[in-house]
């Protein structure tokens, strides 16, 4: 006899509120870091506005690096090569916090949601930075 198919509803996002809080935290940390990033060349393309954060998020999304230290090193390198100023200690702290929370977030959600949330974080950080530029 064929084995009956058992259907189970997957409830990965048990705590929606927690995921929401984590996401908001990451957005805030990355936006705070970007406040200290002054690009060498002024442009309004998304690529330019997002600076090292854009690169960091795409590396996380692709899974090229998983190690936290490697990701921080990658970001510092891009920052120092593209910004008018070197990365500050506060800026680095923000990035570290963001990466910690990203790690927590990854463990809470499935792959599909993870990718969606990364895109959401990306655009939210972009919006915050644009808001800062427009209101300056």
């Amino acid at each position: 006899m064929k084995k009956p198919i058992k259907m189970i509803e997957k409830t990965v996002e048990k705590d929606k509120e927690e995921v929401k809080n984590l996401t908001n935290g990451i957005i805030t940390e990355l936006s705070e870091y970007l406040k200290g990033f002054v690009p060498q060349r002024e442009s309004i393309s998304k690529h330019s506005i997002m600076g090292p954060v854009g690169k960091l998020l795409s590396v996380i999304e692709s899974g090229r690096f998983e190690n936290k230290e490697a990701l921080i090193g990658y970001l510092i390198n891009i920052h120092n090569n593209t910004s008018m100023n070197r990365i500050s200690k506060e800026g680095l702290d923000h990035v570290k916090c963001a990466l910690d929370e990203l790690e927590k977030l990854r463990s809470k959600v499935d792959v599909r949601t993870w990718l969606r949330l990364l895109r959401e974080i990306d655009y939210a950080v972009y919006k915050n930075k644009m808001e800062q530029i427009i209101s300056s």
Binding site: R119, E120, Y123, V125, Y126
Partner: protein, 839 residues
């Protein structure tokens, strides 16, 4: 509505205090504002009734009484108290009204705005406190309070209780509070729309005649106060229903009726033959409508059409211009002849004598009726047959050498006159409509109609069980009639379990519906084609039993459709959605809501004063009922209602003061083109050509929800949206602001605002603001180079950052990559809108 300025002011204050977004009761089905206004209106009615029956007259205290009712639930407006109250923890509501604290200060401020002086304020507070004692927990408060007039206290308590009932029968529990008067009600069990409206009107008329005052109306019925018991007579109800039906039909122009009778040349040409044969005028207007169709008056010529090729082969001698001429002639004539056959066949179904008479008239005018009917299957194709038939027809009437326009006109005239003369002579009884009217009275469940036999009904049910009865998919009644697509909607040819198996769907094998659903569809077809309309059922939260309501809603409908075209201060709700979106985001909507309600009331008064139609209608009534003798009419009015009038101006003045007299003269004359139908406190609003033509379903639904929330706020109502145009109004107890079927794509977006399928009072304002922001953003998108059909739907799916990015990408070319000041300010407004989206 006699205290209109006070109620208007009360609505204004309530909106400012945000009472429209606060629940009045634990079940959250009514807003605090609606409940308060209801209680005030009910008290107004009760006071009027008590005065009328000479029980007692406290008119001089009316202002204080209504003001007391305005503040009676004031404490519930406070967020903390409201929360505790909803959890059942607060008991000392009366105390808060009297304590010299924050609540008392606010109460005094409101009462001052309502026009009360200091002593009146104290009195109003005492009344409000007296009606809130709920039991032993308030005993101390009760013993220390001032004694109030017990009669007034009873009215206050009764008003509050009546405003809180869920179903009409609950009101009968308050018999001891109403004594020596009594309460009763009428109730129906199905709410169909237009047809149920006629039933309600007939029932109300009977109750009024028997000395009962309507107190409140709900979609399913009306609650009355009065003295004399009476038995509802089936024959009388039927005759009044007939009158209502006649008035309803008369409120439409002949063209509307002619248009409603026509289906389509290719499917069912005459969808409602009853309307054609109703009177000489309707028969004539049907043919006038046929004459105006493009295929008859000036048919298009398609040179690639195979029929054109056939014509070329049949008449090789003709040049191109002549060919076009004959192509038009044959096309027009075949449809006229086809309609001629259909008129005879439809007449046969109504009355054999009528059909015979039409045939006789046609014969007398030289038409060979038998050939006309026998040729029927050949009118559609092949075209060579059509040419032959039309040629023979023209020769038989010696019209071969006439011009095309003259031939068409003459033929149409023959059919028009033959039909009209026959109708005039036979005056057929429209049995199918009579049957529908007879059936609909069985939908009254209270008071019981004596001749209705439950045994018959049960036996019919058993009979159906044995033989198998196809059920109407719309209402569950016995399905007896084949659904016509142009009446019921395109779905009649879809698969259904009641369709005969193993045969193709089409012809007679379509979904069958009951006679009442067909009747409802026929009534709605008078407004226009069912497929062009979006149906909104509006259930006013204010339980107006006002006689003004009929006129109120017809003017409100005009406003919804056109806005205020004279001052442009209020945009149209249908066509200017983004203008409304801006008003909402600027928080000016509350101001406009009050303005609209006030404007509507003023317009009603103006329209009555200057309405020539009203004057004519009064003259007509006097002519019909009193043979033009004004004095006889004045005597009757004095005897029946106790009013003295000297001339028609007096009558008009009286109607303004006592709007209930409108019923005496039939209020339907006040309507413009009916896009809205008010029934017993529900409104069927049909919005024609809503949204953009190519809007996808989800976008249309979002726009409908936006309009529904707006209507809900503007007119203090709940709105039920439906996907199926003829669906019954099943939700008679609203649980929120808007009830809508949720499209799958909108599920995630809407679930934050909904509970039990309803958008709730406490969340609808947020949704309205969010949709406003999205609508303005959509306009921005559409103004840019890229325009996509489902932009609004895409916007709700995207994060605000992504929307901003897309807007920047689309507008940056104009700024050549730099952030100019102008662009910056433009983007600032986008950010402001996005904030609303994020909330």
């Amino acid at each position: 509505m006699t205290e209109t300025p006070l109620i208007k002011k009360a609505i204004e204050i309530g909106l400012k205090l945000g009472w429209d977004a606060k629940p009045a009761k634990k079940d959250k089905r009514t807003s605090l504002l609606s409940h308060t206004i209801n209680v005030m209106m009910i008290a107004d009615k009760l006071l009027e009734a008590y005065k009328h029956f000479n029980i007692y007259d406290v008119s001089e205290k009316k202002k204080i009484i209504l003001s007391a009712l305005f503040i009676h639930d004031f404490s519930k407006a406070d967020e903390d108290i409201s929360k505790q109250f909803l959890e059942g923890k607060v008991k000392d509501l009366p105390k808060r009204l009297r304590d010299k604290g924050k609540v008392r200060q606010e109460v005094e401020e409101c009462l001052k705005q309502l026009g009360l002086d200091n002593s009146e304020i104290n009195e109003a507070v005492d009344y409000a406190v007296s009606m809130e004692y709920s039991g032993p927990s308030d005993l101390d408060e009760f013993l220390s309070s001032k004694p109030v007039n017990k009669k007034i206290e009873r009215i206050l308590r009764l008003s509050d209780k009546i405003a809180s009932i869920r179903t009409l029968d609950e009101a009968l529990k308050f018999a001891d509070l109403v004594e020596p008067l009594k309460l009763t009600y009428h109730k129906v069990f199905v709410i169909r729309g237009f047809s149920t409206h006629l039933l309600h009107k007939a029932l109300q008329k009977i109750f009024r005649e028997n000395g009962w005052f309507p107190v409140i109306s709900k979609p399913e019925g009306t609650l009355y106060i009065g003295k004399n018991d009476f038995e509802l007579n089936k024959e009388k109800l039927l005759s009044y229903l007939n009158d209502e039906f006649k008035h309803f039909i008369e409120s439409f122009s002949e063209t509307d009726i002619g248009e409603a009778a026509f289906g389509s040349f290719t499917a069912t040409p005459i969808k409602t033959p009853e309307f054609v044969f109703m009177s000489r005028e309707t028969a004539e207007s049907f043919w006038t409508y046929i004459a105006s169709r493009k295929v008859i008056s000036d048919s298009d010529v398609n040179l690639k059409d195979k029929n054109f090729e056939i014509l070329k082969q049949k008449k090789p001698d003709l040049n191109e211009i002549d060919l076009e001429y004959y192509y038009k002639l044959y096309n027009s004539m075949r449809y006229i002849l086809m309609m001629g056959v259909f008129i005879i066949k439809s007449a046969e179904n109504i009355n054999n004598q009528l059909s015979k008479e039409i045939k006789e008239n046609l014969k007398n005018k030289g038409i060979d009726v038998d050939t006309l009917i026998n040729n029927y299957p050949r009118y559609n194709s092949p075209f060579s047959d059509v040419i032959e038939i039309v040629d023979k027809f023209l020769s038989s009437l010696n019209m071969k050498n006439m011009k095309r326009e003259d031939i068409v006109k003459k033929t149409l005239d023959i059919f028009r006159e033959s039909t009209a003369d026959a109708v005039d002579k036979v005056k057929p009884a429209i049995t199918s409509l009579k049957k529908a009217l007879e059936s609909i009275i069985h939908e009254v469940i209270h008071p019981k109609i004596n001749s209705f036999d439950w045994k018959d009904s049960y036996e019919a049910y058993l009979d159906g069980k044995i033989k198998g009865t196809p059920l109407c998919p719309l209402c569950g009644n016995k399905a007896e009639e084949v659904g016509i697509a142009s009446l019921i909607g395109d779905g009649v040819e879809s698969f259904n379990n009641f369709i005969a198996g193993g045969t193709a769907i089409g012809g007679e094998n379509k979904i069958r519906v009951c006679c009442l659903c067909t009747f409802e569809a026929k009534l709605r077809s008078l407004v226009g084609n069912i497929d062009n309309f979006e149906v909104f059922y509006i259930i006013p939260q204010t339980l107006i039993a006002s006689d003004f309501a009929d006129v109120f809603w017809s003017i409100a409908a005009e406003k919804i459709r056109l806005g205020n075209s004279q001052t442009h201060s209020t945009p149209s709700i249908i066509t200017e959605l983004t203008s409304w979106a801006r008003i909402i985001l600027e928080n000016k909507d509350e101001e406009l809501v009050v303005k609209s309600l006030d404007e509507i009331r003023r317009e009603i008064e103006e329209s009555i004063k200057s309405n020539e139609k009203m004057r004519k209608k009064i003259e007509k009534t006097i002519k019909e009922k009193f043979f033009g003798d004004f004095e006889a009419f004045a005597d009757e009015l004095k005897d029946a209602k106790g009013y003295k009038v000297k001339n028609i101006d007096d009558v008009i003045r009286l109607i303004i003061e006592k709007p209930e007299l409108m019923n005496y003269f039939d209020t339907s004359l006040m309507r413009h083109r009916i896009t809205v139908m008010l029934a017993n406190n529900y409104v069927v609003m049909l919005l024609e050509n809503f949204g953009k033509k190519d809007d996808p379903e989800t976008v249309k639904m979002l726009k409908k929800i936006f309009v529904a929330t707006l209507i809900s706020k503007m007119f203090l109502s709940s709105v039920v949206l439906s996907d199926i145009p003829l669906s019954l109004l099943t939700t008679i107890i609203p649980k929120g602001v808007v009830n809508t079927p949720v499209k799958l794509g909108l599920k995630n977006f809407l679930e934050d605002y909904m509970e039990d399928g309803w958008i709730t009072f406490d969340r609808y304002d947020k949704l309205m603001k969010k949709l406003s922001a999205l609508l303005i953003l959509e306009e921005r998108y559409l103004n840019t180079s890229v325009s996509r059909k489902s932009t609004l739907y895409e916007l709700i799916k995207k994060s605000p950052g992504r929307i901003l990015h897309e807007i920047i990408e689309r507008t940056k070319s104009k700024s050549e990559g730099k952030i100019s000041e102008r662009w910056k300010s433009d983007l600032k407004s986008v950010l402001k809108l996005l904030k609303e989206v994020e909330k």
